[in-house]
């Protein structure tokens, strides 16, 4: 083959490939435009004022429905989450709130790369403080009093086809601004003995009402544990094996979590359980599907969580005592928080 014909082949192939690449980008960007238009049959969304205190009981979450308010925090009546949504204009990837304090994890678009930040919001969703997050943020929590906030980020993917990720869980005292960038700074007590390992990872912090105790997942050497943390003593103590993304009940007696079950498919390994802290008894919940989310207690009897749906994610509820059935309460929503 002559050089000429080789160049000809390459150029023609380039024309085709550039066409395919451009078409895929145009298609994706046109889809972006479509997403700015509300779909018929979707939830009714109006711009308005969203606050984290005062007024009737509401659920605040990230709206994923297509339209001008996509990805904004919205509020809906707690009794009717699929009812009309009020959009706040504040965009978050993940969100949680309690007692007038919100934590919003969001992407900051840079010229070369996105960076992430955790923003502490006041009751009127105004920014009070911001912190850099070293990777893709996933879990967010605020203590019942509103004083402490926590988030988890996935760090990794920085070299060729890297498939190893690590997590960092951070906690901030919103009153003093004191930040613990990673729980790895805490002392670990595992099975009654001090424990040190370079491979420990933490995620999914959940706070107790006393503003001192919290729970989280610790992973090391291929196993996960529920750990109880002490914000004053800066210690972490293992409590129970095979617990991920714990969520403490409002009365502080039980932990709802996802458990890696044997025999489940490797890509969908988690089933929902509730652990009674005083007895160590595990109750399976009436949700047959694998759930990859940190649950939220709607009250002492009902849990809310997200599962993948047509527009990203839908919210479901299930009774906390293992009875009844799971059902979908609203579509196109993620990261719920119940506020009064």
């Amino acid at each position: 083959m002559t050089l000429r014909s080789r160049i000809l082949i390459l150029v023609s192939a380039l024309v085709v490939l550039v066409g395919v690449a451009a078409a895929s980008v145009l298609h994706a960007s046109a889809r972006a435009d479509r997403r700015d238009e509300a779909r018929p049959g979707g939830p009714r969304i109006t711009a308005g004022r969203v606050t984290l205190t005062g007024g009737a009981r509401r659920v605040v979450f990230r709206n994923m429905a297509w339209g001008p308010h996509r990805d904004e925090l919205v509020s809906a009546p707690a009794a009717d989450p699929s009812g009309p949504r009020t959009a706040s204009g504040v965009k978050c990837l993940r969100f949680y709130a309690a007692s007038g304090t919100g934590v919003c994890l969001r992407a900051v678009h840079g010229p070369v790369q996105d960076t992430y930040r955790a923003v502490i919001l006041d009751a009127r969703l105004k920014e009070r403080a911001r912190y850099d997050v070293p990777g893709i943020p996933s879990r967010a929590r605020v203590s019942p009093s509103g004083r402490f906030a926590a988030w988890t980020a996935f760090v990794g993917g920085d070299s060729y086809a890297g498939i190893a990720f690590s997590t960092r869980a951070a906690i901030v005292d919103t009153r003093t601004g004191r930040l613990t960038p990673t729980l790895e700074a805490y002392r670990i007590v595992k099975d009654g003995r001090p424990y040190q390992a370079a491979d420990v990872n933490f995620w999914g912090v959940t706070f107790a009402a006393d503003d001192r105790t919290f729970y989280a997942t610790m992973a090391t050497r291929g196993s996960t544990y529920l750990v109880r943390g002490d914000l004053s003593a800066r210690t972490l103590t293992t409590v129970h094996p095979n617990v991920e993304c714990p969520s403490l009940s409002p009365d502080g007696t039980r932990i709802a979590y996802k458990k890696r079950v044997k025999g489940a498919p490797k890509d969908a390994p988690w089933h929902l359980y509730v652990l009674t802290l005083s007895t160590g008894h595990e109750t399976p919940l009436a949700e047959p599907r694998s759930v990859d989310d940190q649950l939220v207690w709607q009250d002492n009897h009902t849990l809310t969580y997200a599962l993948p749906g047509d527009y990203g994610a839908d919210l479901y509820t299930v009774p906390a005592n293992g009875t009844g059935a799971a059902h979908r309460v609203t579509t196109a929503a993620v990261s719920p928080a119940y506020v009064d």
Binding site: V25, A32, S159, A164, F165, V200, D267, A306, G312
Partner: protein, 425 residues
């Protein structure tokens, strides 16, 4: 905490060995062969393609699919092991039948290209993990034949520079990939499918450039008494004194080469690099690697590959030293990244150039694969033991141990240098 070493399986670095180079004073070194430039272009394009995917993968999993990417850790070990074995297989296949380097490498590139559209249909962790493993298999398959082609199309006088040019182009692709991915994401909303499609198109261009512009066929000059490329012959290469010494040195130094992830983590912890810069640290190393690969390759051709190779490890030793140093100036992180990048530039291509001198052309691919696999396994072992040492004694002690090990291995390498070679330190 630690990001397990994702680079340990990759033949990014090299320990090099000696060189039969005898630079003749006053004679201009020949330019880099067109084949090397063509292969460099293929690597550049392919790295753009693969780094596009790598850069958006965590975001895609967490923000796009709502998954937590932790499950991937499970596949990591398998992945490293498979990659090492595939590399040996690729090396052996390429040597059988003389001139198959191009086609075995091409098959590797094509396999990786075919993986990109598969990402469009894989929506859960296991299928995504399998697609990535397949992609990595493609990489394992192509690496040794590609390096063999580079060494076969250059002369002993300019081999270091040829590898330097190739590695610089390869790294340029790795730096451009994330940029391309984020431009696509910027132009769209959640355009991960567009990123994967564009990545696939780019990968196909890479394969085409290889097929059209890299000479294939009987590229290997067959000597009259050439050894038949059997598996036995491949392993018998280790009976050659020079190659054995190179392999042993690569292995020893690999055992003391702390993985990149740990270096960045230590940099962040010890020198207080802010969180938001964490993701940019590998870019610093890569940029230095890019800038120094060619000049150090040329120096290796002139002053001796062995010297440059050991000098690279001295840079690594200094990196450890700076990380252990109690003084924390603002310039220190830059100095660490500079030395770390220089380490790669002085060792990665240089090792292949040096090893090439000790392997006959008909077994070139197998010989390079042997050295690469040995080094990759040594580094993997180092990662595991470094993690264990960190656990048991803390990061400082673990790094001190690595520094001592590196100094000792460097000393052994100094003594063990392949004999009969000029330019030995």
């Amino acid at each position: 905490m630690y990001v397990a070493d994702s680079r340990s399986g990759a033949p990014r670095t090299a320990t090099s060995a000696a060189d039969a180079v005898r630079p003749r004073a006053g004679r201009r070194l020949p330019a880099v062969a067109p084949t090397v430039l063509a292969l460099g272009t293929v690597s550049l394009i392919t790295d753009v393609s693969s780094e596009m995917v790598t850069a958006v993968l965590p975001l895609y999993l967490v923000a796009g699919l709502g998954l937590s990417p932790l499950g991937f850790g499970l596949l990591d070990g398998i992945y490293n092991g498979v990659s090492a074995l595939v590399r040996l297989a690729g090396g052996h296949l390429a040597d059988r039948g003389g001139g198959r380097h191009k086609w075995v490498a091409g098959a590797g590139y094509a396999l990786s290209a075919a993986c990109k559209p598969l990402l469009l249909v894989a929506h859960t962790l296991t299928p995504i993990g399998l697609v990535l493993a397949l992609d990595r298999t493609g990489k394992g398959l192509r690496t040794a034949p590609r390096d063999a082609l580079i060494s076969l199309s250059s002369t002993a006088e300019n081999r270091g520079r040829a590898f330097g040019v190739h590695r610089a182009m390869d790294t340029a692709g790795a730096l451009l990939g994330p940029l391309a991915a984020f431009l696509v994401l910027r132009a769209t909303v959640d355009g991960y499918d567009a990123v994967f499609t564009v990545s696939c198109c780019v990968a196909v261009v890479g394969v085409l450039v290889l097929v059209l512009f890299v000479p294939g066929g009987a590229a290997t000059p067959r000597a009259q008494n050439a050894t038949r490329a059997t598996l036995r012959a491949a392993f018998a290469l280790l009976r050659r004194r020079d190659l054995r010494r190179i392999a042993v040195c690569a292995l020893l130094l690999g055992l003391a080469t702390v993985s990149d992830s740990f270096v960045y983590l230590l940099l962040q912890r010890r020198l207080g690099v802010p969180d938001r810069w964490f993701a940019l640290l590998p870019l610093g190393t890569a940029a230095v690697f890019l800038l120094l690969a060619v000049p150090l390759g040329r120096i290796a051709d002139r002053a001796g590959r062995w010297r440059v190779f050991l000098g690279g490890h001295l840079a690594l030793l200094l990196t450890y030293g700076l990380l252990l140093f109690p003084w924390h100036g603002t310039a220190l992180p830059y100095a660490v990244l500079l030395l770390h990048g220089a380490f790669y530039a002085a060792t990665d291509g240089v090792l292949m150039a040096a090893a090439a001198d000790s392997v006959p052309p008909e077994l070139r691919s197998s010989g390079l694969a042997l050295v690469q696999t040995g080094q990759a396994l040594a580094r993997f072992t180092c990662s595991l033991s470094f993690g264990a040492a960190w656990t048991a004694w803390g990061d400082r002690a673990a790094l001190t141990g690595s520094a001592v090990a590196l100094a000792v291995c460097g000393g052994v390498a100094l003594v063990l240098r392949p004999g009969g070679l000029r330019g030995a330190a």
